[in-house]
């Protein structure tokens, strides 16, 4: 392939552009009106507008994406994650337009992307699956019946996609009706598919997943597990690999199951099998992600392989550049998702302009992001600004390095999850490696206390800075003086611009 269209935005579009350029492949970016100045547009070889800000008018418009690919002469299309990446209709439209779809075969997407079919596929492959509904929930009555048969609490989940969207936990029958309605509405908005199914709610699970790569020549490779139990609102916040909870022999079993599903479904490309693991180390198939995942860099850092590059190679019909089936690792890696959200205030999204940007760097640090100074963070899309990844020889070294890097990262003008991530990384429970998917809710008070304990002398300092700033910035009080100030400002602007 000589030219690839990336049907996405933000950090993942930037991430894919980087690998394409390293492979000597030209890139085609697409952008909505509010993304004209976004990094993926600036970095790409080519860029085409595809509509207005709401993603239904741009990044979810199959027709416009195909048209941009045709106009630009792109040979392949990479969907990234989110948006249309797990939509088999989109994949089919791409293939019908004689473009190479950088993703799994459409059949595999249908059978695995659809959460209900995925559970059936897993069962056929003899992979353990948790109790739940065998088909979609058509009405409340059916839901009530299934829920009481498997026992509350239960989980409502979207058939059409993941990421916590359209997901609701239901503790008792009285909550079922409104939760079902809300879940269906969210699922519809996020995936254009409002179907919901029911799953048994496991009390203290860890979220463990197996990333794999399969080529069209029958080669499969499964990587060391990723632990993704630090979640808020069912969305991952911090991921690491390897997991402190999973022995090599347990990993091997989970990896074998992943490969069984790949074989059963005729899967080709990159994918991830997600499991829930209970306290007794029983694991259950949770779902399959038929696309590149947000947290894929964690695996790249410990196995030394560019997963996007493998995706492109495989889509071109090439063999995997790996010759083993079970891929080991070197050291430890951890990822903190930097969202435009205030972690201590219910992860409320923050919008605004990035006034200044100082990013961490140095040995073992990687920051995959899609932001730049002066950029406007709008409420239209997912608030993920970037992913800070640290690598180290041991888990302890890696956590220390991550903390250093988080403290070095200054994204000025919006609130981010950096302070929250620092609190998590500094948390003793987290440091022991003994945590599950309830970590954030259970440790929230402790995390908040950590933050407040670190606000000693700095309170007064903040007052001093506000005082200095106010005093320094104040326009002079009289009209006469103000004119002078204006003139000198004009001069300083001129100087900045190089005019004087």
């Amino acid at each position: 392939m000589k030219k690839i269209l990336i049907a996405n935005r933000g950090e993942i579009a930037v991430r894919i552009i980087r690998t394409c350029h390293e492979m000597g492949i030209q890139t085609v970016a697409v952008y909505s009106d509010v993304d004209r100045q976004s990094p993926h547009v600036l970095m790409s070889t080519e860029a085409y507008p595809i509509g207005s800000a709401p993603s239904t008018e741009s990044y979810l418009r199959i027709d416009k994406l195909i048209e941009a690919a045709k106009v630009s002469g792109a040979e392949g299309l990479h969907p990234g994650y989110g948006f249309l990446s797990e939509n088999p209709k989109f994949a089919q439209a791409v293939i019908d337009a004689n473009l190479i779809w950088i993703g799994p075969p459409v059949d595999a997407m249908i059978n695995l992307g659809d959460k209900i079919k995925a559970r059936q596929t897993a069962k056929r492959a003899h992979v353990p699956v948790s109790p739940g509904s065998e088909s979609e929930i058509t009405d409340e009555k059916v839901a009530k019946k299934i829920a009481s048969s498997i026992g509350y609490p239960i989980l409502l989940k979207a058939v059409g996609g993941g990421g916590g969207k359209g997901m609701r936990i239901v503790n008792k029958p009285s909550e079922l009706s409104s939760s079902l309605e809300r879940a269906m509405s969210e699922a519809g908005a996020s995936f254009s598919d409002s179907r919901i199914f029911i799953e048994k709610y496991l009390p203290n699970p860890r979220h463990i997943e197996i990333q794999f790569m399969a080529d069209a020549h029958g080669n499969v490779a499964a990587f060391t597990e990723r632990e993704c139990s630090v979640q808020r609102r069912y969305q991952k916040l911090i991921e690491e690999s390897p997991s402190s909870f999973i022995s090599r022999s347990l990993w091997k079993k989970m990896a074998e199951c992943a490969i069984k599903i790949v074989t059963e479904s005729g899967y080709v490309g990159a994918g991830t099998v997600e499991y829930l693991v209970d306290e007794n180390k029983n694991f259950y198939f949770l779902e399959m992600n038929t696309r590149l995942q947000v947290e894929h860099p964690v695996t790249e850092m410990i196995c030394g392989l560019d997963i996007v590059r493998e995706q492109i190679r495989v889509a071109s019909g090439k063999k995997l550049s790996l010759d083993e089936e079970y891929i080991g690792h070197r050291g430890h890696a951890i990822e903190c998702r930097i969202y435009a959200e205030n972690g201590f205030d219910n992860f409320i999204p923050s919008t605004g302009t990035i006034q200044e940007l100082h990013l961490p760097d140095g040995f073992g640090i990687r920051f995959d992001h899609g932001i730049r100074m002066g950029q406007e963070i709008t409420p239209y899309y997912d608030p993920l600004l970037g992913k800070l990844v640290a690598w180290g020889n041991s888990r302890k070294d890696t956590l220390n390095r991550m903390k250093r890097a988080l403290k070095e990262c200054h994204i000025v003008g919006i609130e981010t999850t950096i302070p929250f991530c620092i609190a998590v990384i500094s948390n003793r429970q987290f440091q022991t490696g003994n945590y599950n998917t309830h970590f954030i809710e259970k440790s929230f008070d402790e995390l908040l206390r950590f933050k407040q304990d670190n606000m000693g002398i700095e309170r007064e300092l903040a007052c001093a800075v506000a005082g200095i700033h106010t005093t320094n910035m104040k326009p002079e009080p009289t009209i006469t003086n103000r004119k002078t100030t204006e003139a000198s400002l004009w001069k300083s602007i001129g100087r900045k611009e190089g005019l004087s």
Partner: protein, 174 residues
Amino acid sequence: MKLQAIIENQPIDCQLSLSGNEVIFEVDNNRQSINFVRLTPFSYSLIINGKSYYVTITKHFEGYNITIDQNVFFVKIKDENELLLEKFGMSDSVTVSNGEVRAPIPGLVSSIAVVPGQSVQKGEILLVLEAMKMENDIDSPSTGCIKEVFVSQGQSVEKNCLLIQLELNENERG
């Protein structure tokens, strides 16, 4: 110069005397000499007794968001004139619960649960605001009656946009 800093709603009286890049900062008879430079419009470097601090500052409502070592502080400053006005009861800083329901975040009004004239309980859902793909319930801040709904379903709203005006029950007024 005398100033009052209101940090996270707590007032701190302080005195500031600037000369060049040095400032004497005094709180509760505790004097500190601070060496400061403004690095960019949004950042300062401070050195106090050898300790180095990198500080960022951005305007936030009527005050500033100040970040030191990844801790964010919201600080408002009142100078001598403002303090004097306040002394004479001319301050405008008193906030009243006036029944206005404003958008806490920018987003899209995905559904409206109430109509004018309807009575609502405190905590009852008024509308759902969709932002960054999540649906956020906007609950009623107090018990009362819906006086006016200013937005419609599907409408995009800015942060702080007036969404709904409540008629408060007498005992709910702030």
